[in-house]
């Protein structure tokens, strides 16, 4: 089945658009917007509204009709693994784990850079993505910087942590690898490894590296708090944690 946008008649191909051009508002600017619309492939391009935004910018509302159509039968969607959002994570915990979960995070070893762990855990979060502290179903404890691996484990046990997040920003001379390895070994020695979801994060830490070191996941650049939260709760559920 071939389809195209629907305005008020089947196959009319009507599309509404709005955009700004970096030119002063004038008859010439309106004409430029029409030409731009035509270059996009639209027919019957109409500027229905234009307004100056400043001396150098003009805003347009434009309608056009397209002759492009697509074959709907040939559309295939790939099922992408999607991270839950803030609400999704909280609802997932309520429905599946049925209690608040405890997440302990730290910037461990000699690393003093808390920017990563703060971005994930702080109430405020970053880039409009709330941190774990703001999740009603998560008890989040950010232990800050330069926490020794021993202390981190002690604290995690005392707080009955379901998950531990370790942030490593400094990677000179592979100091982060030694530290991350030492942590996992200590955790295994204490017999705690299987009881907690353990994640590593940092600008030079990928999922592959983290898995190699024995972590459940690694989170690199561009990770938002909900990506981490989503992974933790799904992993806990997968392990049948109640």
């Amino acid at each position: 089945m071939m389809i195209r946008p629907y305005g008020d008649t089947l196959n009319d191909g009507a599309v509404q658009m709005s955009f700004t051009l970096p030119v002063a508002h004038s008859a010439k600017a309106d004409e430029a917007a029409i030409i731009f619309g035509k270059k996009l492939g639209f027919k019957e391009v109409e500027v229905v509204h234009s307004n100056p935004l400043s001396d150098e910018f003009t805003f347009f509302v434009v309608y056009g009709k397209t002759e492009i159509s697509i074959d709907y039968d040939k559309v295939v969607v790939e099922e992408v693994e999607k991270s839950l959002d803030f609400y999704g994570v909280n609802n997932f915990i309520k429905e599946n784990i049925k209690r608040k979960i405890v997440v302990v995070g730290a910037c461990s070893g000699t690393d003093a850079h808390t920017v990563g762990i703060d971005a994930i855990m702080n109430m405020k979060g970053f880039d409009q993505h709330y941190g774990l502290e703001r999740y009603p179903m998560i008890e989040a404890f950010n232990l800050g910087a330069q926490v020794t691996n021993e202390d981190l484990i002690k604290k995690a046990v005392a707080l009955k942590a379901d998950a531990i997040l370790i942030s490593q920003i400094v990677t000179q001379k592979d100091v982060h690898i030694q530290n991350l390895t030492e942590f996992i070994e200590l955790l295994e020695a204490e017999g705690l490894r299987s009881k907690m979801v353990v994640c590593a994060g940092g600008p030079r830490i990928g999922n592959k590296l983290a898995l190699e070191l024995g972590y459940d996941a690694g989170f690199g650049r561009g990770t938002y708090p909900e990506n981490v939260a989503s992974f933790i709760v799904e992993k806990m559920h997968e392990r049948g944690v109640k």
Binding site: L53, F59, D118, N122, P136
Partner: protein
């Protein structure tokens, strides 16, 4: 003041104020006994300490490090002593310090000379700030009729101060009265203020004195061109509250985000540090005639706007009390709240309007800062625009002072230039069409709105009573605010707090206390 629409019980309002006074009293006592590295750096900046060394460490930070534990005596006498001993101006001394001079190691001159020089330095600082206050007053008066009511507040946040300037000037020409430059992510957690003009930031632009200066100049130019005084906003919150306040005072900012508890709750900054810092920060804001903006909107991004409305009102009372204790008059208190009702709630608009009207009736002189919907904004920009219209409607009809314009593309991307334009156009339509609506209506006696306001005020008093029973420090530790626990000795920045020595000396603090008629609690 307009006639009351909500018929609120005046005794209850007085009671809430009395409770806030009791709640903040022990905190004030703590504040009076302590100083912080941020306060000392601020004092140094007031004397002219500025610049950075070869690796970018700010001079005020270098001096505070040199003084070390002796900050309990105050940094002022060390810096003044160095000026006198070396016979240098502050600019010259800054260069010496950058080159390695340790001013903590210089023998002291007779204290009377230090006091004499301090008077001169205080005079220089005060004159600069007073000139800024006078300049602003003149412009505001001259261009009064061009102002919108409420004032329209727009945000720019490119990370590059020069790009910010273009967007800010465009926003001003579109009709904004106020421009805020959002800071880069994480600046509030830096225990120093970066230096110079900056062109890189994440989600915002560094607050530096040079960036303030660049934006101030640009907005003054645009203001003159369009015949309006464009107000400039930046953020005090974080580990450098008073330091950024003093930069704002010197560069004639007009408003600054300054909440007494935001850093503790939402940034995990130590509570003692924040309380001590916020006072000096607000004293400086007050002296510079800068309107503070408190951050109550943040509570509602965490909690439900119906169930937790009382936390907003309670925080407004507490912020008001802390502000009074810092010598800040009501007309400079931009107490915050936000339009965050779930749009699916039946009569949500009425509940929201009751809350906004209540804030206005409880704090009639305060230029309340009203924040737009964010939590329930989706990718549906058409619905978003409709929600922003209702938000503007409430802002106008309840006489809010500062209207932070909603963006129809909130939750999608940082605003396009056209999004700001549509935001201004929407607000101007509502402001003009409803110009005298507020004066022309009354609320139904014991109707939905009156009842709602009464319930929220009662809940507020109950909440304040609970806090008062345990004390504010414990209340924060036991999750009574924003559903988060902040331990007394936890968080960032506690190591920067020091108990003042008996002969602690800070001529700037003393000067401001006198100028602002601040009454001490005593120990």
């Amino acid at each position: 003041m307009t006639k009351s629409k909500l018929n609120l019980d005046k005794d209850k309002i007085a009671k809430a104020r009395e409770l806030s006074k009791q709640i903040t009293a022990p905190v004030q006592k703590y504040i009076e006994k302590h100083t912080t590295v941020a306060i000392e750096r601020t004092t140094l900046r007031m004397m002219g300490a500025d610049g950075v060394d070869s690796i970018g460490v700010p001079i005020p930070n270098m001096v505070v490090d040199q003084i070390g534990d002796h900050i309990c005596y105050g940094s002022a006498k060390y810096y003044i002593n160095a000026l006198l001993k070396k016979g240098l101006t502050p600019e010259e001394l800054n260069i010496e310090i950058a080159n390695g001079l340790d001013i903590a190691k210089i023998d002291f001159v007779d204290f009377s000379y230090i006091e004499e020089k301090a008077q001169e330095l205080v005079g220089t600082f005060a004159a600069k700030v007073k000139a800024n206050v006078a300049y602003r007053a003149e412009k505001v008066t001259r261009y009064k009729e061009k102002e919108n009511a409420p004032l329209l507040y727009l945000i720019v946040a490119t990370g590059n101060i020069y790009e910010d300037v273009k967007q800010a000037q465009a926003a001003a020409k579109q009709g904004a009265d106020i421009i805020a430059v959002i800071r880069t992510t994480g600046q509030s957690l830096l225990d120093f203020v970066p230096f110079g003009p900056t062109t890189e930031g994440f989600g915002g632009t560094y607050a530096t004195q040079e960036n303030f200066k660049i934006m101030r100049k640009a907005l003054d130019e645009t203001g003159e061109e369009i015949g309006k005084y464009i107000r400039l906003v930046n953020y005090c919150s974080g580990l450098c509250m008073p330091e950024i306040a003093v930069m704002g005072a010197l560069e004639r900012l007009d408003m600054m985000l300054n909440d007494s508890m935001y850093g503790i709750l939402f940034r995990d900054i130590n509570m003692y540090r924040t309380f001590v810092d916020q006072k000096f920060s607000r004293m400086i804001n007050s002296f510079a005639g800068i309107v503070i903006n408190s951050g109550e909107d943040n509570y509602l991004t965490t909690s439900d706007a119906v169930e937790k409305a009382y936390t907003v009102t309670a925080s407004q009372f507490i912020n008001e009390r802390f502000a009074y204790e810092s010598g800040l008059p009501a007309k400079l208190m931009g107490l915050g709240h936000a339009f965050e009702m779930n749009p699916d709630i039946k009569n949500g608009f009425l509940l929201e309007m009751a809350q906004a009207q209540m804030a206005h009736e409880i704090f009639p002189e305060a230029p309340l800062k009203y924040m737009p919907p964010t939590k329930y904004m989706t990718g549906d920009i058409f619905k978003g625009l409709a929600m922003n219209t209702l938000f503007n409607f409430i802002a106008k009809s309840t006489n809010q002072g500062i209207l932070l314009l909603g963006m129809l593309t909130e939750a999608i991307h940082t605003p396009f230039m056209q999004d700001r334009f549509l935001g201004v156009a929407n607000a101007k339509y509502v402001l003009n069409n409803m110009a005298d609506f507020s004066d022309d209506i009354e609320f139904k006696k014991d109707g939905i709105m009156q009842t709602r306001a009464k319930v929220v005020l009662d809940e507020t008093i109950e909440f304040l009573e609970e806090i008062n029973k345990t004390d504010l420090f414990n209340a924060i530790e036991t999750k009574m605010f924003a559903e988060v626990s902040r331990p007394k000795n936890g968080g960032k920045g506690l190591s920067g707090v020091a108990e003042k020595a008996k002969d602690y000396y800070n001529p700037f603090y003393t000067y401001l206390e006198n100028e602002l008629n601040i009454v001490k609690k005593g120990n």
